[in-house]
């Protein structure tokens, strides 16, 4: 058969089955690469400071651990790993290159927050410890798989201008 066995639409048409896949996060959680960028975005230096501090502590406990530098570099890239000592045992973990701050806002005020460390994999994709990843302990083979991808883009950035694309093809439609 030269044709698709079936065809289906999820988003288009009158009866979309689920639109949620394309909708925005309802939770206000941002990914920041520095304390400064967090403050610049949220205007809340106290919460940013607490979140950063908590994330640093949590990173020590929940970052993936590797028995050798080579394994760590293979997973996270060159220059992204540091050594740690736990009792008589040494291991390697990725640098915390960012942190997540989840804010519960009520009337424009921060009513509570969550925080988490964020790491980069070898391809530059952000990841965080998966919920229930387990804290600390000795090196566990495959520990690196207990990470979850981070959907947020780091450091939302104020837009300075719009309308710099779309002029040449205008309203007539651009495509062929």
């Amino acid at each position: 058969m030269k044709r698709s066995r079936t065809v289906a639409l999820l988003v288009m048409g009158t009866a979309p089955l689920f639109l949620a896949a394309c909708s925005k996060e309802s939770e206000v959680e941002g990914l920041y690469t520095s304390l400064e960028s967090c403050v610049a975005q949220t205007n809340d230096s106290y919460t940013c400071g607490e979140a950063f501090k908590n994330a640093k502590q949590e990173a020590e406990a929940t970052a993936p651990r590797y028995a050798s530098r080579e394994e760590c570099v293979a997973a996270h890239g060159e220059g992204q790993c540091e050594a740690r000592q736990a009792g008589s045992q040494s291991y390697f973990m990725p640098l915390m290159t960012g942190f997540l701050l989840g804010q519960m806002l009520r009337g424009g005020q921060t009513a509570g927050f969550t925080s988490s460390p964020a790491f980069k994999d070898r391809n530059g994709n952000w990841q965080r410890p998966a919920p229930g990843a387990g804290a600390g302990g000795v090196y566990r083979p495959g520990a690196a798989t207990a990470m979850a991808p981070v959907a947020q883009q780091p450091d939302r950035a104020p837009t300075a201008s719009r309308g710099g694309f779309g002029d040449r093809s205008g309203d007539r439609g651009a495509a062929t």
Partner: protein
């Protein structure tokens, strides 16, 4: 290859509404036209279109490395110099590409002839992948086409598979963009987004006019999120020349189609293909052309960046001159004229789809003129064996 008259489905407009196909009629003129269909044999499809499409796609991709490494070639293709390194880098990195469409002139006899590559912003995708498929399914259910009838159309499956294959390489957020007020372009990105969602990819959309720029020259959506990956149904060469375009190489946004498609969506690829594969049965002789000399009979002149059949000059073999209007200027290419299949004054252009690197489907466009314009009607096709068993042909 035959053109068969077909009874329309009585409910096709309702079917179109159900699937969000709003541009089936454009400015009061039919665009979707199921009062006829084109019938091919399996052999015509597989040997006449599918195999040449695969081969030509490979030949075109084989040229990209040499072109992006050559300043002379990039200049010949009228690509602005500030973008050369970026384009070369995107090719070296293997930046993922999604789809393209080759347009052929063919009447079922002899080899199909490649007229051009639409490898940057091809449309008529939803019509080809979904609505044409549904048309065949309905016509089989009603008994007007035999159950054994088939269609050259695994475009949908190929799109979902292609999105799945590149998903991990796309920085998020992932947005689809097109011109705000073009129903056709918006419909095309809606369909692509639908396929991406089916592949499990979170994504959104934005009007190309709404894209923002930060102080440090990154592109943003309407919520000030820096755009990770942008599928843009908008010509690369126009992006290059617009106010935000200068920041493309360093903005950090991954583009689909990728920058290296600028050398394939360019009509200059036609003389370069001819130069490398002179005499190939599916290629027409083609040369770069400064537009100064009179066009001899039997030749067609096209601007490098013309789309939708604009600014084409034809000097037919028997002496007649045809020309279309439009906004595009030189430089040009000159390509040997090859007649489209014609039935009762209707000229058929065969659009052969490539998704990922797979030739996977066909969409036929009909125009009253020998130059296929954006108003050309989409006519569905079917694969039937010779004696067909069509009741009302």
């Amino acid at each position: 290859m035959r053109r068969l008259a077909m009874p329309e489905r009585v409910n096709w407009r309702a079917r179109a509404a159900d699937s969000g196909f709003v541009f089936h009629t454009i400015d009061g003129e039919p665009y979707w036209d199921e009062s006829a269909c084109y019938a091919f044999t399996m052999r015509e499809i597989e040997e006449g279109l599918e195999a040449p499409t695969e081969e030509l796609h490979g030949m075109a991709l084989d040229l990209v490395g040499d072109i992006v490494a050559s300043e002379a070639r990039m200049r010949e293709l009228d690509i602005p110099e500030p973008f050369w390194d970026w384009i070369a880098r995107s090719w070296k990195n293997g930046d993922p590409h999604l789809y393209g469409r080759m347009d052929f002139a063919w009447d079922g006899h002899g080899p199909a002839k490649l007229l051009e590559l639409n490898y940057d912003t091809p449309t008529s995708l939803f019509e080809s992948a979904f609505f044409q498929w549904q048309w065949l399914d309905d016509q089989q259910s009603s008994g007007r086409l035999p159950a054994a009838a088939d269609q050259y159309n695994s475009i949908y499956e190929s799109l979902v598979e292609a999105f799945g294959a590149i998903a991990r390489r796309l920085p998020r957020p992932f947005l689809f963009a097109a011109v705000r007020n073009s129903a056709e372009d918006q419909g095309t990105i809606d369909y692509l987004r639908d396929c991406a969602v089916q592949a499990g990819i979170e994504c959104g959309s934005i009007a190309i006019e709404d894209i923002g720029l930060t102080a440090d020259h990154r592109y943003t959506d309407l919520d000030d999120n820096v755009i990770g990956t942008l599928f843009k149904l908008y010509p690369l060469e126009d992006l290059f020349r617009e106010p935000f375009g200068a920041h493309l190489p360093n903005a950090g946004t991954l583009l689909i189609e990728p920058p290296w498609k600028a050398v394939l969506s360019n009509k200059g690829i036609l003389p370069l293909l001819w130069d490398r594969h002179r005499g190939h049965p599916n290629l027409l002789p083609a040369f770069f052309d400064d537009g100064r000399d009179a066009l001899p009979p039997g030749w067609v002149r096209k601007p490098l960046h013309s789309r939708e059949g604009a600014n084409i000059q034809m000097h037919l073999p028997h002496g007649e001159h045809l020309a279309s209007t439009g906004p595009y200027g030189g430089p040009f290419v000159r390509q040997q004229f090859h007649a489209l299949a014609a039935h009762d004054g209707r000229h058929a252009l065969l659009g052969s789809w490539v998704v990922g690197d797979r030739a996977c489907g066909l969409g036929v466009r009909e125009d009253a003129s020998a130059i296929t314009r954006d108003g050309a009607r989409f006519v569905p096709h079917v694969i039937l064996e010779e004696d067909g068993g069509v009741l009302e042909a």
